[in-house]
Symmetry: C2
Subunit: 218 residues, 2 copies
């Protein structure tokens, strides 16, 4: 097949992976929902094989569950799961952040300042969301522990899912989140692990408490 109009950058599988991931994270595909191949195939306008493979891949991110011989479903959501994510996230990010600080160097500091700058300068909501994740992952990026970073990234995304879940009932929270970010940044650059880690965890726990309230039942 020759397609001169759109230079398709990636494989059909990868495209399906990204789309499905987005749809699950934002709740377009609701938690716990059965994911039927045929249905997704039509929705994404692609073949069954890429859909199937994308779903298998999403298993790694704990966004999709697979039951042998009876297909796939979006990972279920529950208050217990939300709290588990929050707790794990705090424990693992604490570990990663402290390791990052322990090995702090000027290169890392510069990457921190840069990612923070890009975050506060982000023009629109989607850009901010991306930059926000980049900033937080940069905080952990100096731990020299790729698997730990992968776990943290995974948990970050799983948490985002609950943000969208809570967003339905969203009324605004009165918190200066930019100030919290600056505190984290400064403590990191100051290389004070205890203060920095405390600022980071407070940042997460405050968001967690807010989300928990919004979630109501579940």
């Amino acid at each position: 097949m020759i397609d001169s109009t759109s230079g398709k950058e990636t494989s059909a599988t990868h495209a399906a992976y990204l789309s499905l991931r987005e749809m699950i994270l934002t709740g377009v595909l609701p938690a716990g929902e059965k994911l039927k191949i045929e249905q997704l195939r039509k929705l994404l306008e692609t073949g069954a094989s890429p859909v199937r493979e994308a779903l298998s891949l999403l298993t790694s991110d704990m966004l999709v569950e697979r039951i042998d011989q009876r297909g796939f479903r979006a990972a279920p959501a529950s208050r217990a799961n939300f709290e588990e994510i929050l707790n794990l996230r705090c424990a693992l990010e604490d570990m990663a952040f402290r390791q990052s600080i322990a090995q702090a160097d000027s290169d890392w500091e510069e990457r921190l300042v840069l990612s923070h700058h890009r975050m506060i300068r982000a023009a629109n909501k989607p850009n901010f969301e991306i930059a926000h994740k980049v900033f937080h992952m940069t905080l952990l990026s100096n731990a020299a522990s790729p698997m730990l970073e992968r776990y943290c990234s995974q948990l970050y995304d799983l948490n985002i899912r609950y943000r969208y879940l809570a967003a339905a009932a969203a009324n605004y929270q009165r918190r200066d989140i930019s100030a919290e970010h600056i505190d984290i940044l400064n403590a990191a650059i100051g290389r004070n692990a205890d203060v920095a880690s405390k600022a980071l965890l407070t940042h997460y726990r405050l968001t967690g408490a807010y989300l928990s309230k919004q979630l109501g039942d579940l």
Copy 2:
């Protein structure tokens, strides 16, 4: 296809998944090796689709890496990776074990005693290996944190891989491992988190040091 001789219990994909997993863990498929579909298809006597899907699934376990458009390879092994696994394992199991102990009840204690009994009674090597993992996972099973347990299980398996890698040069270690297991069991039942956790981590670190020596270069 009608096959009256062998009641095939599972799907081709699941069978392929188990075989490939085993082959990667034991080093039959060496770390870093390119995993060609056609080659594995013939080896496992199955179709390309099940192989492909099994490999995608193994991505979750961090046993296989996938690079878009250029296939799969067995996850590489390195000293750094080995040490990262050891450290993460100690941190995460410490957390899970302490949570388990904090919520200790007689049901858990009985499951501990039982799994320990089955381990020391295991008739042969493969049975012991399985029972050993069950015992260790049981230690963590009372944490009520499925994701944390999943991480620990994953890391346990990744560590086994290095055991096989080291086994090539294996000369025997002079350690009373059964005694270490009993210490862990007793401390857990005694609900003394500090002692129990220390016993567990020592158990891992001793094995880690031994393996590290065996690994030599890498």
